[in-house]
């Protein structure tokens, strides 16, 4: 089972888990509209979430839009 760093927390996901599973584990709902993912500091396009397996120790940031600005 891959242990990853998900939004700053150590998490263990099931074997075969993909980036999409990590997105759901982060708390993003449904189709995660308005969500973007960086894996080890690089943006991973949405189309690749389901076909990208989580590597041991990888660092995921799952972001969405919040109130902000000035």
């Amino acid at each position: 089972m891959p242990a990853v760093c998900l939004n700053g927390e150590e998490r263990t996901l099931p074997d075969g888990a993909t980036v999409l599973d990590a997105v759901h584990a982060s708390g993003a709902e449904g189709e995660a509209r308005g969500v973007a993912v960086a894996v080890d500091g690089e943006v991973l396009p949405r189309a690749e979430w389901t076909r990208t397996a989580l590597g041991e120790g990888c660092h995921l940031e799952v972001l969405h839009a919040v109130q902000g600005g000035c």
């Binding site: 708390g27 919040v66 902000g68 600005g69």
Partner: protein, 258 residues
Amino acid sequence: MDRLTIGDRTFGSRLIIGTGGFRNLETVRKAVKASGAEMATVAMRRVDPSARGSLLDVLTEVGCFVLPNTAGCFTARDAVTTARLAREALETDWVKLEVIGDDRTLLPDASELLEAAETLVGEGFTVLPYTNDDPVLAQRLEDAGCAAVMPLGSPIGSGMGILNTYNLRLIVEQSHVPVILDAGIGTVSDAALAMESGADGVLLASAISRAEDPAAMANAMRKAVEAGYEARRAGRIPRRLYAEASSPEEGVAELQSP
């Protein structure tokens, strides 16, 4: 009021709202509606499972174009990655570029800002940089291909208004892209002054979001921006050192008996 054109979009309002600092989404909705703004900024942050409601839904409902920012970034690299994440999340290549150089004043880091702007323009982004009120840096950002320049009036959230109207006027005079006064607005007279000074628009948040009655202040800001814009075009009178009588000087009665 003429429409404001930035890049390939036009807007009926010259007031842009930052959504930071509002107590909740309902307050955002009411204030943005009262402001008449057609563009609002959002920040990109980690997904919070406890968050309720969708900011994007609220902004869509009130008809606002969503402008993601890179708030919180201190390096060109982080700002560029954040802009790419926002493009992926929000399906927009527009970005309000912020690269902060000091966490107490939140003043921009000029060299990192310029580097990030050049990279993002090269990747096809429509870049709206939050910049110091420095005419030379503003020119460099325009030369780099930014779609607008957004000089600060004073530090973010300070409410100190426009500390250097001279620099603002220089930026307005030299720029061939829209100039948006961004940050520092405290009250309506600051927003009106920005527009009277020739700014094409005003971006603010705290002045509304932290006001006692955000929706009422939003409505007031809408009027201030419109009034400042119209006054600029109407042509103000020159400042004089002494009075100039506005009543006829001839035909004044002699009311003292000789």
